[in-house]
Amino acid sequence: MAERSFAREVEDLKLGEGETFRGEGILAITKALLQSGVGYVGGYQGAPISHLMDVLADAEDVLDELGVHFENSASEAAAAAMLSASVMYPIRGAVTFKATVGTNVASDALANLASGGVTGGALVIVGEDYGEGSSIMQERSHAFAMKSQIWLLDPRPNLESIVKAVEDGFGLSEASNTPVMLQVRIRTCHVHGRFVAKDNRRPSFTLREALENPRRDTNRIVLPPASFLHEKEKVEKRWPAAVEFIKSRKLNERFGPDQGEVGIILQGGMYNNAMRALQLLGLADVYGGTAVPLYVLNVAYPLIDDELAEFCAGKKSVLMVEEGQPEFIEQSLAHILRKRGIDTRIVGKDVLPMAGEYTTAVLLKGVREFVLAHAPRLLGNQSPLPDPSPVLDDPKVKALADVVPARPAGFCTGCPERPIFAAMKLVEKDLGPHHVAADIGCHLFSILPPFNIGATTMGYGLGPASASAFNVEAAKRPISIMGDGGFWHNGLSTSVGNAVYNKHDGVILIVDNHYSAATGGQDIPSSRAENGRRKTNNGIVDAVKGIGVKWVRQIDRTYDVGRMRDTLQEALTTAEKGPKVIVASSECMLNRQRRVKPLVAKAVKEGRRVVRERFGVDEDVCTGDHACIRLSGCPSLSVKHLDDPLRDDPVAAIDNSCVGCGNCGEVAEAAVLCPSFYRADVIVNPTGFDRILARVRDAVIGFLQRRRDARRIVFPA
C-alpha cells in the first residue's frame, strides 16, 4: 500500500469522451494509456513516476473492467522483460521507471527487445530524473535510445502534448516494429494542467488470446544468425518506417514565421521554458506566438533529416537547444547539414552550458546571446530583462550565505533507520571507523549530518556487492548496507549470493522498513501487510538463509539501540567466517503513522483504553551539549533558547510532531548521554483499575512532594 491514496484520482481515469481531465502530468499519462487500448502495464516505482504505479495499484477495478493486466515488477529489468509479450502478439504494453537508473537496470531486456523488434506497440515511459530535485547521477536517456535504436519521444510539457505522445508512441512502435521510449522530465511529471479526455479502450487483442494461441518465430529471437539480420532490419526497414510515420503524422512541430534569418531547434521538453525566455526578450507572447521560427523535436530520436534541412535552409544560423550532454542532437545536426552542403551556422553549447539543467534563466541568457550575435535587429528596443543581480550583489544579501543553512532531505520524524545509524555511531566510538558501502534508499541519508556514515553507492541492491573487493585479511571488516527494496530488486543474488559464494567476510546490514519507502511506500515481497493482489510476508531472513548465509541476526525493533549496537559489534568481531547478515526491521514511520493514526483515533472515539506516547526533555536537566542531536537529527528533536541569564547554549526540546518512537531515550541510555529525556505515556480512556491505581499513586507521591516543597525556599514569581 503506497503512502498516498489515489482513490480520487482513480475517478479521473474513468473520464469519457469530451470530458476535461485536470491534474498531474503523470496521471494524464496513465489515462492516456487506457485511452490507447493498452493490454498490460508494469514498472518499478521511483521519483518522478511513482504516482503512475501508485494510481494504477489503486485502480485495479478499472483495469479489471478494461481487461488490462497491471504488475508491480520486481525491478526495471523485470518490467522491460515484460514487454516481450508484445514481440509476437499485437498487444500494446507499457512499462515505466525512472531514468537513467531504471534504464540502466533494464538495458539487458531493452536491448534484446529492440533487437528482435515488436509486433504490438511497446512503450517505455521514463521519468527523467535530471536537474533540480533529482536524486541520481546526471545522465541522458538519449544514449540508451541511440545504442539500442529505441525511438525517443520528448513531447512539449503540457498535458495535451504528452497524452498525444502516448498515443503516437504506440502507433510509431507498431509502424516501425520498434519499442518507443517516452521521456518526461521531473516537473512535467508533476505539472498540473488539463486536457480533453477520450473514452478508454479495451485492448483489441488480449493476453488470454495470446496464451491460448501461442506463436513463435525464431527470427525474432536474439541468436545468430537472426541477431545479424536484426541489425540490418533496424537500419533498412524499421528506421525508414519510423521516419515515414513521424513525417506523415507530423509529430514534430513548427511554430512562428516560415522564413527567418535565424531559427531555434529544440527538444519538446524545453519548449515552455524556451518560450518564456523568448517572451521576456519580446520575441514571443504567452499564447505561443513567436517572431523566431521554431522547430520542436517531440521526437528526439530519430531525427528527421529532411525536416531539419528544410528548416535550416535559407537561415543564417540556428540555435540548438539541447539539454544534457554529450550534445548528440547538435552533432547529428552538424552532420546532416554538412552532408547536404547547407552552410547554416549551428549555435548551441557555445552559448548554452554544456552541462546542467536548462532553466529559464539559463535559456534567457543563451537565447539572448544568440539573437544579439546573429539577428540583433529582431530585438529592437529591448525591454529591460528580469535581473536579480543588483539584489544579489548587495552585501546584506550576500551575508545570507553565512546564515541560511543547507537543508537536504533526511530521515523523517520517528524513522526506524535513525537508531540503526545511531548504533553505528556508537560502534564507531568503540571500534573506530569502518569502510561502509552504502546503497540506494532512505538509508542513504546516513551519509549526511549528523551521522556522516557511508563511503560509496554503486546502485540499487549493490551495497554489499560494492564491498566485495574488501575480502582480504585485515584488522577491520567492511560493513555494507542495503535496504529491503534493494534486497528484492537484485540484492539477494547480486549482493548476498555473491558474498556467500565468494566467502566474503564482511558485515551486511539489511535495513527492512517493510516497504519500498523512499519511492512512496509501495509493498515489496517482505512487506508485513496483507495485500490481496500480491504475495507479501516473504521473510528476508528465510531468503538469506536459503541462499547460504550461516550467520544471520534478525532485530525486530530497530529502536533498541543497545541491541543494535551489540549485534553490530558481534558481527564485526566474531571469529566466524563468511558474510554476517543483520536484518534490522521496523516499519517505516511515515507509513506506520498513516496506517495506525486512524485506528488509534477510532479506538479513542469508541472509548477504548489507548496509551499515547511522546517524548520530552527536562530543560533544567539538559545542559545544551546536543550530543543527543548528533546521534539523531530527528526533525522533532530541536533546540530552544532559555530566558535564564545563566544559560548560554540552547537546550534540546521536542515539539508536538514527536511520534514517540523512542529513539531519543534509547540513544541517551545506550550512549550514556544524560537523563534529560522522558517518555510521557498518556492513558486515554483509562480503566477503573487505572484510575484507582493513579489515585493511590497521586496520594503518596503528592504527599511526599508537598512535604519537600514545604521545606523548600521559594522565590516569589
Partner: protein, 517 residues
C-alpha cells in the same frame, strides 16, 4: 511537421502571475499550491503548478511554482515550469530561512515581488547539532528582505496556525489573501479551502486569523535568541534570610552585577540551600576585591559580572542528586502535564531514561569512601557490572518515586561527597587562574572565566567538556602578554563549541601557536 495555423497577429502583452512557494517536506506546500490552482481555475484563470518533490518530501527544502493567466479566449497559454529569477510576483516562504533561500536564488526583487514569510524557525540539522549555539541569525534574513522585496508580510504564521489547530499552509494562504496581490476576493480563497475537503474548519480558522493579522501591518521583529530575564534586585523576597542575601548583593557589589548575582543566588538556593548561596557571595566578594584591585571599575567590573554567572553555574554542577530532585518535584509533574497537553480524565506517567555507572555512585559517596573504591578498580569494575545499565525509571510509580526521592534527599550530604570535592577543586583552580591573570591582562582574565562554559553535561560529555576546557586554557601562556589575547581566547572557545571531536579547536590552536609574539 505541423504549422501553427493561427494568422499572424501582433504579440499579446499578457503576462502570467507567478508565485513561488518555498517549503520543507511536510509543511503543506503542495496543499497550498493546490489551493491556489483550484481558486484560479474557479475564477476563470488558466493555472499551472509544478514541483520537484522527489526525496525533498523527506524533510528537505523544496519549491512549488504556480503560474496563472486570465482565460480571455486568446488561446492556451504557454506557462513556464520554473521561476525565473527577477520575474516572480509572489514568493511564499513557509519558514524564515527559506525566505532567505528565496532571496539568495534571486526570486525576490524589489520591482516585482511581494514576500510572504512565516518568521518562525525550524532549525536545520547543521544548526542544532553544534555543541554550542549554532543557530543562524534571522535578523540577516529580515535585513536582506528589506533590500530584496517590494513588500513584506512577515509574522509567525506557524504559531498562529497551530493555535487555530491547523498547519502553516493555511495561514500563508490567509496572508496571501490579505496581500491583495491576486485579483481574487477573499471568499474565492475560502472556497478553495472548502473544495480541498480536508480539515476545512481548522484551515479556515487559521486562514482568517492570518488574514486579520496581515492586515494589521504590525512589525514582526525577529531575534536569534529571546531576551534573557534579568529583573532588577527586589526590595524584599518575603523571607528574612533571602533578604539578607539580597542586601549583601545591594550593599557589596557594583550595580552592573546585581541581576546576575541575584540569578546566581536563586539558582544556588534552589540547588542546595541558603548557606551555599551565602558561600557563593563570599567567593564573589573576594573576586570583586581582586577585580577592583586590578582596576576593574574602569571596565565596569566585567570580571565580576562574568564570574557571577559562571561561578553560579559551576557551583550548581549536575549530579544524580540534582537530577533526582528535579525529576521528583511537583512543579515538574505539572509542567510535563502542560507540555504533553493532558486533558481531563487522562492519566500521565513519565519514564526517565537513566544510565547510572559506578562513577556516579562513587561520586555520590562521602569523599573518603569514594576514594577507597577508586583505589580498588577490580572491586569497582565488578560492582559496575550490576550498576552500569540503562534504567527505565517510571517516576509515577511509588517504588521508583521513592527511590528517586531518597536520592534527592541526599542533598544534605552533597557537600561531603567525592564529586563535590572534585568540582570544588576544579572551580578553585579555574578561578585562581583567572584571577591571577587580572593584573597582567584584564580582558584575558574575563575570557578565562567565560571558558567555564565549555564544562557541561554528564558522564562522557562532561569529561569531554573538561578536556576542551583544559585544551583551550593550554594556550594561555601564548596569550597572556598579547593585547589581543582575549580575542584569541574567545575564538578558541568558539571553535571548541563548533564540533564534538574538537577538530576546529585543534585548527584554532595551531593558528595560535603560529602567532608572532
Amino acid at each position: 511537421m505541423t504549422r501553427s495555423e493561427a494568422p499572424p497577429r501582433s504579440p499579446s502583452a499578457d503576462r502570467p502571475i507567478s508565485i513561488a512557494i518555498l517549503a520543507m517536506g511536510g509543511q503543506g506546500g503542495g496543499v497550498l499550491a493546490d489551493w491556489i490552482v483550484t481558486m484560479a481555475e474557479a475564477q476563470g484563470f488558466v493555472a499551472q503548478s509544478t514541483s520537484v518533490p522527489g526525496v525533498a518530501q523527506r524533510t528537505g527544502a523544496t519549491i512549488y511554482y504556480v503560474e496563472m493567466l486570465a482565460d480571455r479566449g486568446a488561446g492556451q497559454p504557454v506557462l513556464a515550469l520554473m521561476p525565473t529569477p527577477g520575474d516572480v510576483d509572489v514568493v511564499i516562504a513557509a519558514e524564515f530561512m527559506e525566505a532567505g533561500r528565496a532571496i539568495q536564488r534571486g526570486l525576490v526583487t524589489p520591482d516585482r515581488t511581494t514576500l510572504i514569510a512565516s518568521t518562525h524557525r525550524s532549525y536545520a540539522v547543521g544548526e542544532k547539532e553544534k555543541p554550542g549555539d549554532g543557530i543562524g541569525d534571522p535578523g540577516a534574513v529580515m535585513e536582506a528582505s528589506g533590500i530584496a522585496a517590494g513588500r513584506i508580510i512577515a509574522f509567525d504564521m506557524e504559531a498562529l496556525a497551530v493555535k487555530a489547530g491547523s498547519v502553516v499552509s493555511a495561514a500563508l494562504f490567509g496572508a496571501l489573501a490579505a496581500a491583495e496581490v491576486l485579483p481574487f476576493p477573499r471568499d474565492a480563497f475560502e472556497a478553495a479551502i472548502r473544495a480541498g475537503g480536508k480539515g476545512v474548519e481548522a484551515s479556515l480558522r487559521a486562514f482568517a486569523d492570518a488574514y486579520a493579522r496581515a492586515r494589521q501591518h504590525l512589525p514582526a521583529p525577529v531575534t536569534r535568541t529571546p531576551p534573557k530575564t534579568l529583573p532588577a534586585l527586589p526590595e524584599t523576597l518575603g523571607h528574612p534570610e533571602l533578604d539578607r542575601l539580597v542586601a549583601r548583593i545591594r550593599g557589596g557589589f557594583p550595580a552592573g552585577a546585581h541581576a546576575l548575582l541575584m540569578a546566581g543566588v536563586r539558582k544556588l538556593v534552589d540547588y542546595q540551600d541558603l548557606a551555599y548561596a551565602g558561600a557563593y557571595l563570599d567567593r564573589m566578594e573576594d573576586l570583586l576585591r581582586r577585580d577592583a584591585a586590578a582596576g576593574g571599575e574602569a571596565r565596569d567590573f566585567a570580571f565580576t559580572r562574568e564570574a557571577a554567572k559562571y561561578l553560579a553555574v559551576a557551583l550548581a554542577y549536575d549530579d544524580v542528586i540534582r537530577v533526582a530532585d528535579l525529576k521528583t518535584r511537583g512543579s515538574r509533574f505539572a509542567r510535563v502535564r502542560g507540555e504533553v497537553g493532558i486533558r481531563d480524565g487522562q492519566l500521565l506517567y513519565t519514564t526517565e531514561f537513566m544510565h547510572p555507572r559506578m562513577e556516579e555512585v562513587i561520586g555520590t559517596l562521602p569523599a573518603g569512601i569514594g576514594r577507597w573504591f577508586e583505589a580498588r578498580p577490580a572491586v569497582t569494575a565488578r560492582l559496575d557490572r550490576f550498576v552500569n545499565r540503562g534504567r527505565r525509571v517510571r517516576t509515577g510509580t511509588i517504588s521508583w518515586f521513592l527511590a528517586l526521592y531518597a536520592v534527592a534527599g541526599m542533598k544534605r550530604m552533597r557537600l561531603r561527597t567525592l564529586r563535590h570535592e572534585r568540582e570544588m577543586r576544579h572551580v578553585a583552580a579555574w578561578l585562581d587562574r583567572a584571577a591571577a591573570m587580572l593584573g597582567r591582562n584584564y580582558d584575558l582574565a574575563v575570557e578565562v572565566v567565560a571558558c567555564r562554559r565549555l564544562v557541561k553535561g554528564y558522564s562522557d560529555t562532561h569529561a569531554r567538556g573538561e578536556a576542551k576546557f583544559d585544551k583551550v586554557l593550554s594556550a594561555l601562556p601564548l596569550l597572556a602578554h598579547r593585547g589581543d589575547g582575549a580575542d584569541w581566547l574567545r575564538r578558541l572557545r568558539q571553535a571548541a563549541l563548533l564540533d564534538e571531536e574538537g577538530v576546529n579547536l585543534d585548527g584554532a590552536l595551531k593558528t595560535v601557536a603560529t602567532l608572532e609574539s
